[in-house]
């Protein structure tokens, strides 16, 4: 069996094996590999930033164990009859420890921590690789027949503990890996739709569609690894949703295999009035009802022209006001994000060594202009990054409109480079956590959605709450607690938080971390924010579900689960 994805990826951290942050012999930070623009570059100011921000020191290093210790891995529970039946289907499978551990987790901090230093109490007992819809039907039938538990696995990028196996599950757990169901079945150019197998990974989908001159435009930050089926199962959101929409806007048709049978619609239409949309039972079901096998998704011609941009605002308040105005006028570019000052500085620290003196000089000049001439305080200002897409003329027109609005809110255009670097960072930032873990710094991101009028209050209060909780829990150094407004809507925005701290001197950092994250979520809810904008609930945020959707709402979901999967074959215990 070819599991190339798994082979190229780290077993105990984010992303590709060849890509990571290191400190080189000179003690300078460097990003390895050639996959990213940052690859092979030296980041001269980064070390200082880490030391200053976290009080971390390169002297104090903690390292992960080098490889998986097979002896630690819980033994596989085997149902022999099932295994016989499975062999008969010719579907490939594995009971290998590494395969099983790789599918026992997502990318929450505590999961990575366990990989580095401990072992999960319960992991899948077998991994199966169906290659098509029919294979999935067979596997689900067999699981029903033998009363086993199935946990669907797509890209493995969950950050909601959704992939963790329930400890108390006594049945054999089958990890159903969809990665081999990765074909585009057809492209319909007349209706601009494509039918795609659900296991396809984001970047492959875009690459393959591009060959025909199309794209979906769905670009979540995890698109290098996350799968179409996973997007559907978690109600994913993409960076460029302003043009292309979120997953619920993109999906035309879904085919899902459940213990009850196959659920799908009879036609592929833009909209229908046939009672509550069954797609909405499937989207966000987080693997509790069945396996999404095929999805018909909207496609668009690849845009002619792309342009990055950035705007500096004197402070976060002005920046938010500008984004609100842009949303009001419904002229948001493909992406518009506003990072706060701490994140701006963070981004600044990741600036690679400049090759030519000329750019450096220009940089200095601009800095002088902004801080001295315009009177922006470098410790208060914040930056919006922009991405425009479309035909060239319209993009330029659009760009002008947005910059005009920004000017009204005291914004200053700060160049394409800054914008581009901002977006590049979202892909490499996930690698940073692994570096931090080597130096006693742990961190995580989380997100929410919130009405416009509460954005500022929520951002301020959540950040403050994190700082306070850290102090109370005995964290020695003030944490990094930073946010960005990452999506705009008519009625509100999506806010993304990064939070990290140096845990030296704390005996149980993960527990402390979880308490603080929980407090931060409480704070979000108290400020009128949602439980999640796009990460989902999983098992990590289950406790707030009742509060979020009311008793009756929860009951409605439960009754669907009860009908579709009365024996809890899809027993990952997410959501409900």
């Amino acid at each position: 069996v070819s599991h190339c994805a798994q082979v190229a990826r780290k077993w105990n951290g984010w992303g590709y094996n060849d890509s990571k942050f290191i400190f080189n012999k000179k003690g300078q930070a460097e990003f390895t590999g050639k996959r990213y623009r940052l690859g092979g570059m030296v980041l001269p100011t980064f070390k200082e930033w880490i030391e200053k921000t976290f009080g971390a020191s390169l002297e104090h290093k903690t390292t992960s164990r080098a490889s998986l210790n097979v002896n630690d891995v819980p033994p596989s529970i085997v149902n022999e009859e099932f295994l016989q039946d499975l062999r008969a289907t010719k579907i490939s499978y594995s009971q290998d420890a590494e395969d099983r551990v790789f599918r026992a987790h997502g990318h929450c901090l505590h999961e990575i921590f366990v990989l580095r230093e401990g072992m999960f109490k319960r992991i899948p007992d077998i991994v199966v690789w169906p290659v098509c819809h029919e294979d999935v039907v067979k596997i689900v039938e067999l699981a029903c027949k033998h009363n086993l538990c199935i946990i669907p696995f797509g890209g493995g990028t969950s950050v909601s503990s959704a992939l963790e196996c329930p400890e108390e599950e006594k049945r054999m757990i089958i990890s159903l890996d969809t990665s081999q169901m990765n074909r585009i079945l057809w492209i319909d150019e007349k209706n601009l739709t494509a039918c795609v197998e659900a296991g396809i990974v984001g970047q492959d989908l875009e690459k393959q569609l591009a060959e025909s001159g199309f794209c979906t435009g769905h670009e979540p930050d995890s698109m290098e690894f996350s799968s179409l089926g996973g997007w559907v199962a978690t109600r994913a959101s993409g960076m460029k949703k302003n043009i292309y929409g979120n997953i619920e806007d993109l999906v035309i048709h879904i085919k899902m295999v459940t213990p009850r049978g196959i659920v799908e619609k009879n036609c592929q239409v833009p909209r229908m009035s046939t009672g509550p949309d069954i797609h909405h039972f499937i989207m966000g079901s987080e693997g509790t009802l069945g396996v999404v096998t095929e999805v018909t998704i909207k496609i668009r011609p690849v845009p002619e022209y792309q342009k990055y941009g950035s705007v500096v605002f004197p402070n976060f308040e002005r920046g938010v006001a500008c984004l609100r105005e842009v949303a009001k006028q419904r002229c948001a570019p493909a992406s518009i994000r506003l990072v706060d000052n701490a994140q701006f500085q963070f981004g600044h620290a990741l600036k690679p060594q400049v090759a030519s003196i000329f750019t450096s000089f220009l940089d200095g000049l601009k800095k002088f202009y902004i801080t001295k001439f315009k009177g922006f305080d470098p410790n208060i200002l914040c930056v919006a990054t922009l991405l425009f897409e479309g035909d060239r003329e319209k993009v330029l027109q659009h760009e002008k409109q947005v910059y005009d609005i920004a000017t009204k809110f005291g914004g200053l255009a700060a160049g394409e480079d800054n914008g581009q670097r901002g977006y590049m960072l979202t892909f490499v930032i996930a690698y940073l956590r692994d570096l931090g873990l080597d130096y006693y710094v742990i961190g995580e991101s989380f997100e929410t959605s919130v009405p416009w009028d509460r954005v500022l209050d929520l951002c301020r209060n959540v950040k403050e709450r994190i700082v306070r909780e850290c102090k109370e829990k005995g964290v020695q150094f003030a944490p990094l607690s930073t946010c960005r407004v990452t999506q705009t809507y008519d009625a509100g925005a999506c806010v993304y938080f990064y939070f990290a701290f140096n845990y030296r001197g704390i005996s149980d950092p993960i527990h402390v971390y979880e308490q603080i994250e929980r407090a931060a979520r409480e704070e979000i809810l108290a400020n009128g924010g949602s439980l999640s904008h796009h990460h989902g609930v999983g098992k990590l945020r289950k406790r707030w579900m009742k509060e979020s959707i009311s008793d009756v709402g929860l009951g409605m979901l439960r009754s669907v689960k009860e009908y579709v999967d009365p024996n809890n074959i899809f027993g990952n215990k997410n959501l409900l």
């Binding site: 209050d457 929520l458 709450r465 108290a526 400020n527 009128g528």
Partner: protein, 837 residues
């Protein structure tokens, strides 16, 4: 709620801030470089910017639009109105005015007060708090000096000057009003419940200043100056306004800082006493203040200002406030707070007041006043000292914060108190007396008034102890009220008292049992009571403490009884507060004139209002909002019932008591003389009697059952035949007489006739009845009938006490004074035999 370690509680040290003022130039002080510590999130702005922010706010604009729609007016006109309100209300803080005050107040304070003592650690804590989060200052309110002093203090310590919610009446003082405005006062109308625009503008004004961290916001939880020096129950309006930004998460947190300002001598003491007695207070006017300059020559002792620990609202609210209501409605819409929130606001208000009380400084004079009031009209000086010293120990046990210099002997402390308060009491011939003899030759009414004035002024000082003492003291009162020492009964009395006095003293809502336990704990700590599993009883050693404590609160118990009595009997059913106060004052006044009560404090309008509002809370008086104000409706029966609780709380719990019988009312009816017609029924009656006799027999001898009666042997029959004679006749008479009123328990007939005997045996002869101590003969007055035993349910034969009748003989000359007890003679006649005195 309360700390059990009251006495060991560490309190900060005080510094005298006037000391430095006396040493260096006031002018230089006023002109010093003032760069106050401010809130970290503050974007500096001018008072006018705040005003326009308020006018433009969604909150105010929303109400303006609503009103415009409802009244059919143009929004511009209403906007205009809002601007006027804001101009009337808003402060115009200016450094110049602040410096002016800094200069003049230095002069004035140095003149008036010996020392102004501040806990510096508190100021440091405040300094941190101000930088961190918006701060709300919650000082106690005893005097106009309060807010001047506090601003002066913050200026001295280089802290941001507060904006202060002041009553609009200050604006009556032309120049001073404007000056205060420039020093940061903003003015609120006393009542604006109905005016939505005013409410919206006011609330938004306060919230805008709070949210932006513009300045600490200062207001008085008590709403007004306490005329009695007793903490007033809190008002919730402003508090809920300043809490709202946190509830809506417009701020991360808000600090509430309780501040206790204690005066050794209150500037307005005599004014207050007049006011309480119904002589209206002078309207605040500039000339009034100038006249007040007269007092500048007087000495008002020391002021203690204790800045308490800032309390984080977020911490208080954690786990208590359900956030949903604020998440589902836009935050600028006016929204009535949910019940949860209202309850929370009230809890916080009480908590803050209790914190104020905890750190109020008590001077020795406070103890002197408390002792003196229990020993009127005069008290021997030495005894007063001794008692004061004793009370000092008790107060400290109860957690009171006494400022009594270590080296100061009791005599000096008492003397210096007397010197400072020479207007209230003085030392005459080794005795301390109240100064109420201003007009010896005045009319009686005038005397009562003078005396009341002196008592109320003195009480102002004793009152400072009450909230520290109230829990143990009410346990003490309950011990005396309760029919037994059983815990439940004492607690039920305590709980009743706590309810009745809920407006008089400060109790944290809903923790009656905890308060009780706290009271018991403190009494146990000073060895005044002992508790067992079921009982609470005073110790021999502690009876003095218990009676002192209950005497301390007696004016309130008696005063409330008087007021309740008036309401249950005299007051017409519907009235306004304006009618109530003078009417009840008049009632009490007359009683005092007649000498039938000594409770001068019942004249206090404060007590009268509190008693009325207690009845409203207990449901015995209904309060109704009418177009012309509040109307009260009394349910007289309910008030009587409450009154009964004071008088005989025994009634409620009869069967548990082992020592006392329950109380009953005795109805008195004259007995109809026998009518001739009755004779016809004699035969019938005789027949019945045998049956009755049988029953009587049954009662008379233990364990005699019907069967025994049926199998009578000869001997018994003979005995019965004998009874048939004299014995039976008398019993027959008794039966017949009683049959008319079978329930009678007492027969009263002084002088004439004699008792109704149960039997012929064992009747006293004349020699058996001794003469009275005065030498006169005793004659029959009344007799107690055996039926009483049934009523009291002491009728288990052989075990209970028993009698046929008890006959009481009293002095024929009715000797002795009206009010003293005398020994009389009682004759006990049983059915068979026996006689006892």
């Amino acid at each position: 709620m309360y700390s059990k370690e009251l006495t060991s509680k560490k309190r900060d040290e005080f510094e005298d801030i006037l000391e430095e003022r006396r040493l260096s130039s006031d002018l230089r002080y006023a002109m010093k470089c003032y760069t106050p510590v401010i809130y970290k999130g503050l974007s500096p702005c001018k008072p006018n910017a705040i005003k326009s922010a308020v006018l433009q706010s969604e909150q105010v604009q929303y109400v303006i639009k609503q009103l415009a729609k409802e009244m059919g007016e143009s929004p511009d006109i209403i906007q205009e109105e809002a601007t006027e309100i804001l101009d009337e209300m808003g402060h115009r803080m200016q450094l110049g005015a602040v410096r002016f005050f800094a200069f003049t107040l230095s002069k004035i304070f140095k003149q008036l007060f010996q020392r102004v003592c501040v806990n510096e650690e508190g100021m440091q804590r405040l300094q941190h708090a101000i930088q961190e989060h918006p701060v709300v200052l919650l000082p106690s309110h005893r005097s106009y000096v309060d807010f001047l002093m506090l601003s002066y203090l913050l200026y001295t310590y280089d802290l941001a000057l507060p904006v202060i919610a002041a009553g609009i009446d200050f604006l009556g003082m032309k120049i001073v009003g404007e000056l205060l405005r420039r020093a940061g006062a903003f003015f609120m109308r006393r009542s604006f419940g109905g005016n939505r625009l005013y409410w919206a503008v006011f609330a938004e004004y306060v919230k805008t200043m709070l949210r932006s961290g513009y300045a600490p916001i200062e207001f008085f939880l008590e709403g007004t100056r306490s005329r009695t020096a007793k903490t007033l129950t809190p008002k919730f309006g402003l508090l809920s306004i300043v809490m709202e930004p946190f509830f809506k998460r417009e701020v991360f947190d808000t600090y509430l800082v309780p501040i206790s300002i204690s005066y050794e001598r209150i500037l307005e003491e005599s004014l207050y006493a007049y006011e309480l007695l119904g002589v209206p207070k002078p309207k605040e006017s500039t000339s009034g203040l100038l006249k007040a300059r007269r007092i500048l020559s007087d000495n008002f002792g020391t002021i203690h200002i204790y800045v308490g620990q800032p309390v984080s609202l977020r911490t208080l609210a954690s786990g208590r406030i359900n956030r949903c209501p604020y998440n589902l409605v836009p935050r600028h819409l006016p929204q009535k707070p949910s019940e949860d929130i209202q309850e929370f606001v009230s809890d916080v208000a009480y908590k803050m007041e209790l914190l104020q009380i905890e750190n109020m400084v008590l001077s020795p004079w406070v103890l002197v006043a408390a002792v003196l009031l229990q020993n009127l009209p005069a008290m021997e000086f030495e005894l007063l000292i001794e008692k004061t010293l004793w009370l000092k120990g008790l107060t400290q046990t109860f957690g009171g914060f006494i400022e009594w210099p270590d080296n100061l002997c009791a005599k000096k402390a008492v003397l210096s108190g007397l010197t400072l308060h020479s207007n209230i009491a003085s030392l005459v011939d080794g005795h301390v007396v109240l100064n109420d003899k201003g007009m010896e030759d005045g009319a009686v009414g005038e005397l009562v008034f003078r005396h009341a004035l002196a008592v109320l002024m003195c009480a102002t000082y004793r009152n400072q102890l009450l909230n520290v003492f109230v829990r143990p003291a009410l346990v003490a009162v309950a011990l005396q009220m309760a029919p037994s020492f059983r815990k439940e009964e004492v607690y039920s009395c305590f709980s009743f008292l706590r309810d009745v006095f809920s407006d008089e003293f400060i109790f944290f809502p809903g923790i009656s049992l905890k308060d009780f336990e706290e009271g018991c704990f403190l009494l146990t700590k000073c060895d005044a009571i002992q508790t067992s599993q079921q009982e609470i009883y005073p110790t021999d050693k502690g009876s003095g403490t218990v009676s002192f404590l209950s005497a301390m609160f007696r004016p309130f118990v008696e005063g409330y009884q008087l007021i309740f009595r008036y309401l249950s009997k005299e007051m017409k059913e519907a009235f306004t507060e304006k009618q109530f106060i003078p009417a009840v004052r008049n009632f009490v006044f007359q009683l005092l004139e007649k000498g039938s009560t000594q409770c001068y404090e019942a004249l206090s309008s404060d007590m009268q209002k509190n008693a009325l509002s207690a009845l409203v809370q207990l449901g015995a008086v209904k309060k109704k909002k009418m177009p012309n104000g509040l109307i009260y409706n009394v349910n007289q029966e309910a008030v009587s019932k409450i009154l009964d609780m004071f008088d005989d709380s025994a009634d409620a719990i009869p069967e548990h008591n082992e020592f006392l019988f329950p109380e009953y009312e005795i109805l008195i009816e004259p007995e109809e003389p026998e009518s001739p017609a009755d004779n016809n029924e004699d035969e019938q009656g005789a027949e019945d009697t045998s049956k009755d006799a049988k029953e009587q027999e049954k009662l008379g001898a233990a364990g005699v059952a019907d069967e025994t009666f049926q199998s009578l042997d000869e001997e018994t029959l003979e005995a019965m035949a004998k009874h048939e004679t004299e014995e039976e006749k008398i019993f027959q008479m008794f039966k017949k007489q009683v049959a008319a009123e079978p329930e009678q328990i007492i027969r009263y007939c002084r002088g004439e006739g004699g008792p109704l005997w149960v039997s012929g045996e064992n009747r006293p002869e004349e020699k058996d009845i001794p003469n009275c101590v005065c030498g006169a003969k005793r004659k029959f007055e009344f007799q107690i009938m055996p039926q009483l035993l049934n009523h009291l349910q002491v009728d288990s034969l052989g075990e209970s006490i028993d009698w046929g009748t008890l006959v009481v003989y009293t002095c024929a000359n009715s000797c002795g004074g009206a009010n003293e007890y005398l020994e009389e003679f009682i004759w006990k006649q049983d059915y068979s035999m026996g006689c006892t005195i």
